[in-house]
Symmetry: C2
Subunit: 781 residues, 2 copies
Amino acid sequence: MNGLTLQTKYQKVKSYFKIDPWKIIEEGFVKENQKWSESIFSLGNGRMGGRGNFEEDFSGQTLLGNYVAGIYYPDKTRVGWWKNGYPEYFAKVLNSAHWHGVRITVDEEILDLNQCALHQFRRVLHMDKGYLERSFLVELKNGKTLEIQSIRFLSMAWDECGAMQYTIQSNDDHTNVCIESILDFDIRNEDSNYDEDFWTFEQTGNEQNMLGIHCSTKKSYFHLCCSTLHKFFLNGAEVVENYSKNGTERKQSILYKTSLNAGDYIQLEKSVVQISSLDYTSQELLSVGFEKCKSWANIPFEQRLNDHSNIWSDIWESSDIQIGNDVEAQQSIRYNIFQLYQTYTGKDARFNIGPKGFTGEKYGGATYWDTEAYCVPFYLGTSTPIVSKNLLLYRYRQLDKAIENAKKLGFINNAALYPMVTMNGEECHNEWEITFEEIHRNGAMVYAIYNYVNHTGDKEYIKDYGIDVICAINRFWIQRVHFSNPKNKYVMHGVTGPNEYENNVNNNWYTLYIAKWCLEYGLQILDELKKNDTLSYPFIMNRLNITESEINQWMNVSKNIYLPVDKHTGLFLQQEDYLDKEQLTVSDLDPSVRPINQNWSWDRILRSPFIKQADVLQGLYFFEDHFTQNEIKINFDYYEPRTVHESSLSPCVHAILACRLRYEDKAKEMYHRTARLDLNDYNNDSEDGLHITSMAGTWMSVVHGFGGVKVNENGLHINPFLPKAWTSLQFMIYYMNRALKINISAFKIEINNLSEANVDFHYKDQFIHLPGKDCFTAALT
Amino acid sequence: MNGLTLQTKYQKVKSYFKIDPWKIIEEGFVKENQKWSESIFSLGNGRMGGRGNFEEDFSGQTLLGNYVAGIYYPDKTRVGWWKNGYPEYFAKVLNSAHWHGVRITVDEEILDLNQCALHQFRRVLHMDKGYLERSFLVELKNGKTLEIQSIRFLSMAWDECGAMQYTIQSNDDHTNVCIESILDFDIRNEDSNYDEDFWTFEQTGNEQNMLGIHCSTKKSYFHLCCSTLHKFFLNGAEVVENYSKNGTERKQSILYKTSLNAGDYIQLEKSVVQISSLDYTSQELLSVGFEKCKSWANIPFEQRLNDHSNIWSDIWESSDIQIGNDVEAQQSIRYNIFQLYQTYTGKDARFNIGPKGFTGEKYGGATYWDTEAYCVPFYLGTSTPIVSKNLLLYRYRQLDKAIENAKKLGFINNAALYPMVTMNGEECHNEWEITFEEIHRNGAMVYAIYNYVNHTGDKEYIKDYGIDVICAINRFWIQRVHFSNPKNKYVMHGVTGPNEYENNVNNNWYTLYIAKWCLEYGLQILDELKKNDTLSYPFIMNRLNITESEINQWMNVSKNIYLPVDKHTGLFLQQEDYLDKEQLTVSDLDPSVRPINQNWSWDRILRSPFIKQADVLQGLYFFEDHFTQNEIKINFDYYEPRTVHESSLSPCVHAILACRLRYEDKAKEMYHRTARLDLNDYNNDSEDGLHITSMAGTWMSVVHGFGGVKVNENGLHINPFLPKAWTSLQFMIYYMNRALKINISAFKIEINNLSEANVDFHYKDQFIHLPGKDCFTAALT
């Protein structure tokens, strides 16, 4: 009943939610799954979000979670043994006001959904329209029953606002019902170390059917005000009266009591506005909040929901993917796209995409290399360039802090090391093997610029912003390598690659390769500017103070950097000593020890050959055109069987390369794994929150993998690979400001240029020049 | 004035304390040095101890520190990213009652030694008699002056007791003086994460001139009661009156006020008794404490000090080292021996030797591998075997926990991994690269058994206790290696050697070598038992469930273990990739970046070639007789110039090997560094507390180094090397229950057998059979 099934060859996964192309459905309620369900049913609108918590009391395992973008707490980081260069703080996403709570009392019984008998329980996430709906029949201890329904959304149209509609209908006469509608700002983070309170109460307001609480964060001094307006209806007619109020400064409520006969129903319509000192002065928060909340609540609920759903229609218009004949795959890809746009809409360059979005507290911070490596491709493909440009500018604006970060580690000459985890550009992570050593993240910054320019053609970006970032990163690379006498090459010691199941290794192939590529790309840019832009070139060289001898250094290092390769097989070595490890594959593992990170000690994981996430393969995906099909095959065939995919960012890359190699079963297995990571709780951790950034990887696995789309400096390439089980695949892609709609079926491919302007691309080995509003068609065999 | 001098070739050290053969003297007071001085002037008696804090108020930088053996707090350890196998808690040595405080008020001015003008200031640690003395003349704001003297000690004769005598003499008429004698148990640890209070108040008592406070520790529920008795004297005559009392539950005081004319003096005699639930029921603590305190205070102060000093005479009788013609070296070695015996007397097998003893809070925990590698040799050399046996039994009794620890990391078959840091056998350290990887500590446990047996001849120890420990550790080693196909040998990945400036390396020579040796030693023991003790052998094999196939495994691994060696030079490689590092030596470092652990980021340290402490050389020291002089020379010549000695445990090993190689300057430099590590604050961290365990290394550098003493399975070897600047060296050594007194001068060596029984040893290449009470003499050239 709790849906545990042995679904894959080596690992248990859970199957619990119903399959539907546009909905996520929970039918019947399994208490033990509540934290997982809360994650799955999370709502967000780019500015705020929260977990799919019940409105009512629930005494079982739950994580009440509501989060607002850009509001964080700089928690203590001085723990264990302090290392020079460690960050000043660990930024925690702050759990904030819980606005949608209600306490229902019926004939003196408080409704606790952990205790009552629930029937006909159904919770549905409507991805097409962007709202959460729940209905059930509850049986009380006195034998009476009530029918309850709730609808909740956070408005994409008015992103400071949210609303819910909560309906109770009695099936019995003489039923005394009290609805206490709660605004609770007395909230602690689940991940606080000492159950500390990160909020300070500032003020509260009092208007007839409204509640308002204004708190500020300790240390970071963000001010946040949450205002709610509460309307009660009896059998459809609004009840206007002086509701009684309850509560303390930080937890307040409005009460409505009545007696119902069979068929009578009461309804609570609760509207919320959350505004913060990111956009308003702290003095005005309470009054502006109240005003906004009144205006918002004044719009009829249906209309507000409609405005919100219209925005979702627009998003789906440009981002939907349709898969023929595989409803499970269809549901998954939509779920991934839905959650990404709930997390980040690209409207505000101050925000970024946290690994858990608004669905949990784990990982803290907002920004990881996930953004550049996974999310930028997604937004490049599904939105106009401004969204990805905002993501790039976010990093450009933090270049000073990245330089400061490198300086703390002893680097000179304005070298930059971007943080592993950050809120405002400052490093927020304090494990030395990550913070100081997982430096490949710097490469992803450059790759994102390269990707953006190739996708959009916006070469001005490089001159105005990109080259500054690239130059500072190259200055880091040339200081981070040293010359090895025995090897007669530049080597890079003390590195953690994307595979975090090896730490502090020497000569990680991926990091070396991307460092080499960054240097080459920087040199190429400067060379092109020198040749083609005689006006900008000296200006840029001067601005960045780049000397000829520095350029020679870049050249020297890029030409003489060491890349570990096994001579016998041509295998690119994840690191120097990889072949010295015990040569086991995942099939040698007892399923009971998986995931190994929940069952093995760290030293055992580190010295095992098992790979957390694509490492060499990540490089082969980024730089696919640098390698032969045979090189990809040798490495995929070797590393894939050793990869446990315990990072959510792993399966998508494997799915894409499996498509290149036409490994259909593996591609589908990996797609399933990335797409349904949370829906099937593959890593047994979805209850902590969703794997938001990896959802962009799911999109990549469809568009770059099965769709066969690749954009590099030579343009757009399309070379699809449709698995037999899928009768069709349809998706949109933005390229050079053109919207292309691509339809793939078993027999043919259609590429529709929806724009007025023409577009050039490569279809397999053909170069295609496609005029505006035209369609290219080819037969597939 | 604050004594900063550039004293060594590469590094600044401070010279502040006066040189004297038996005293540590501070003349004149430099506020900025107070925390360092507090460490230097620490007192202890094996059961309790504390820093050399002033009695009076001091508003400057200070660490008030008083500690009681065996009382700790299990602090939270779940910080950062939790790894499977991490310990449940981090044990903190608890800062406890500050018993010797006084507040002096003179004509309404509170004496703050940070604010007043101090003249003729002198603080002296009398190492011969074991007490701390201080005297100065203080000038008040109103121009009056007072002469103040204090004497303080913690009794070695009655180790639950301490006392102080505090004298104020006025140089002016009509001077109103108030002495407030304070007992302060409202104490927080400096190293608490959130300034939490680790103590709970239990009760307080009230008797005429006594104070008593009983507190318990949170979580660990130790109960500790501190009782003080206060006597006041005016011009030598005791003043008996109803003193007024002040204070709260956890901070109380007794006041005495009077008016002095010029030449008048008042005196406070304060006696303290500290007892805990380690020895008494918590119910009786307060009453027993009061009774004991009264009896203790009843003995005249002079007699109590005398009893205490007599114990010190006994200690010096068997442990003193005399160095001719080098007072600085003389002072240093006595200081090291003095602090060791203040920390651990060997009377109680429940206690051990924390790296900071009773002098600070850093490192937490009480027991590190320092005990086995450094302290056991010291106590073997300077005490009867019972002291070292107690240290060995401490580990034997914790074998179950070591097995549990290994089990947590996935090891089976009762393999044991001793903790890196512990209080009661449970691991208390949570850095993966140390906790899980610095496994060479297991080797030190076996080495200590080997050392003990060779020193004492107590072979029964092996049968009764030692073999259990050795067997469990060997079971760990054979699971910790794996077979490398490319090398065709057993390798050991993911290890941190003694040099903690490399983490998570593969094939650390030292760890591999000691693992191989443990296996061989275990095999040898079993083989000898099989041959010579047919009664015990089957019994032991059965008790430990050792099978023939297991013995074959031990043999196979010990014969086929990989040891990384550079083929060209014969250099033993600290780890596989060491030669791939940038080949710099310490002379390439700018002095301003030293110590590098205070100036460089961790990644930079890790990938640099710089060595924190002896690693390969540690192995050469332990197993000196396994290697040729040339092998020692090749490795010393290579590694010494790369070692920054930022572990206090490093210079002593280098000093010993330098003696073997007759590198006189290096030996003396290293001796100076280990011996005066705290007295000259070499590592710029003595203010945190003294480096207690490394002090045993100082003893080793004299006795094993210059004295040329080595004990192994072939017996005692003596081969001295007297530096030219020393006209003589005299020390005692216990060997096979015989006390040998060794006198070395430039021209001859005398080895006096003080015991009745004869003794065999090797002097250089000669085998000597020395009858009881006889003396061996040889000329030195």
